[in-house]
Each structure stands twice: as structure tokens, then as C-alpha cells.
Amino acid sequence: MVTSVTSLGRNGLYDWLIQRVSAVVIAVYVIGMVGYLICNSDLDYATWSAFMGSVPMRIANTLMLFSVAAHTWIGLWSVTTDYLTSLTFGKAATSVRLVGQMAIALLLLVYILWGLLTIWGGA
């Protein structure tokens, strides 16, 4: 049985909402980016760099970064609490799950910090 609750919103409703909102952000970003790339097929480094360096794009990238991290965390948290349980791991389940969740959290944390540095670092 899964007992340790380590969800993001600590409440099913907020997790669910964050999941939907972040999905919308990711969808809009991806569609926008694909649109931009299609319209600018002869893209060179200077244009790309100026585009990504603009403040609106930095904000969009930051939003995207946090959305991906939150979405991944909630999704993978669900997966770990579905599959890394006593049904598959017996008594070791809680430790296995916690280690798994910590690895995911650490990875996402590094990803966020690295992302923020990339987006805002050159400012």
C-alpha cells in the first residue's frame, strides 16, 4: 500500500489543475514554436539569438520550463505510486519509490536551475 504522499499540490484537485494548465502551456508553446520555425525557414544564428533573447520569449521559456517540470513531476509521481508499490516490491516498496522519486526530483531541479541559467544567464 502506498502511504507516503509526496504530491506537488498535496491535494488531488490542485495536482489535477496544475496538470491541465501546464499541458495547455506546453501545447501553446510547441504550436507557437513550430509556427515560428515554419515562417522562418531561413533562420540564422543572429535572428534566432535575438528572438530567444527578447523579454517576451524569455518569459515564455521560463513558463515552459516550469510547466514541463511540474507536468513531469505530477505525471511521474503518479507512475511511481502506481507501479513502485508493495504489489511489485513487497516490503522494499516505500524505499524503492522514495529513491525513484528523489532521483526524479533531483533531475528536475537541476533541469530548472540549468534552464533558468540558460534563459536569463546571458542577460
Binding site: M1, V5, D15
Partner: protein, 238 residues
Amino acid sequence: MKVSIYRYNPDTDREPTMKEYEVDTQGKDLMVLDILALVKEQDESLAYRRSCREGVCGSDGMNINGKNGLACITPLSEVAPGVKEGKKPLVLRPLPGLPVIRDLVVDMGVFYEQYEKVQPYLQNDQPAPAIERLQTPEDRAKLDGLYECILCACCSTSCPSFWWNPEKFLGPAALLQSYRFLADSRDNATEERLSRLDDPFSLFRCHGIMNCVSVCPKGLNPTRAIGHIRSMLLERGV
């Protein structure tokens, strides 16, 4: 025709086995439960539950060629093409995800515990009127598609979310009953009921897989009921 049945007696068997039987249906489109009766004539040791044999008691839920259903109202012709004609075997297993007591009989304990958690009875703290609490026909109509559940467990035991977390995720059957009381105009414990559902497991483990809808022998739609509860939680929470 060939019938293959899951057999397991925890007192004598080390592990479950599938046992083959040969049954003569005389070409008739019998119900799966009739086939079980014919098998039982050959082999008295076979254990299964049944009572009403007409789809109202909910005791003979089982997994029939991979799909949960009530044996008593599932004709051979509906199991899979070729089963009635004897070209394909009929394969019977217990409901998935629950501990097997013996053969096709499962321990429904955790299923009933989840049912109990939704407090499936009317709660109203207003003084009771002299005769009874009346309901308009419109309010009564809101309970259609909810009250008909016979607690056969076909839905919950086909739900992957229930398989993985049967103690924490209420499962489609209990959630359908939860909404049955949330939707009842005579019940005013809405807030208490909702407050018990907004953790990450009880309701939100439902990922809309809709296995529950496809197996319910009464044609009910737990996924829709879960959606209604989610909207109520959303309205309450934001």
C-alpha cells in the same frame, strides 16, 4: 465445446492452473452460467458464486474471455465470435485484482471497504418532515443511471488504477455511489462528502481509461459520474 476454467484451491494447490472441460450445448446459445452448471455436473469441486441467475444480485461477476461480466446474462454468442459454435474455447477466470478464495470466487473485502468509505446512505441534518422527504420528478431523475448499480465489481476490477491502488483509489463502483448521494436532493452532507474526495488518490487516480464503462453489465457510466464529482470539486475549490 471447450471450456477452460481457472482452478485454484489454496489448501491443496501450489499455484493456479487452467483446467479444460468438454461441454455439449446441443448448439444452443446458453448463458455462461448455464455452462458452469454443466461443468459442475462433471466436476463437483468447481467453486463459483451465483444467486439470482438474472442479472440483479451481482454475485457472478467474472472474467469471460478477457472481459468482465455477469455469467448469468452473458450468452455464448456475445462472448466472442466462434465461441458458441465451439470453434473457440470459453475461458473463465476470476475477477482480476482481488485475492482468490477458490476457483472463480474472489475476496470482495477491499471492494466493500471502498464502498463503505463513501457512506452510501442519505444524510440530512434538517429535522425530518412528518411524512417523508419529497423530491421533485426532476430531482428524482438525477438519480437515474446511478441507483441501478448492483455492486457486482465488474467495473472496479477492470480498472488499472484500482488494480494498483485498491486500498486508496475508491474505484468506479464506489465513486458512482458517491455521486449517487451527492446528486440526491434529500442529502445535504455534500461538503463533508466532497472534502473526503480531494486527496490525490480517492478520486483523482481515475485517468479516464473507461474500462469501467465498457464492462458494466447494467450499462452504467462511472466515468461520467466521476467527471461530475470532479466538476463539483473544482467549483468548490476555486
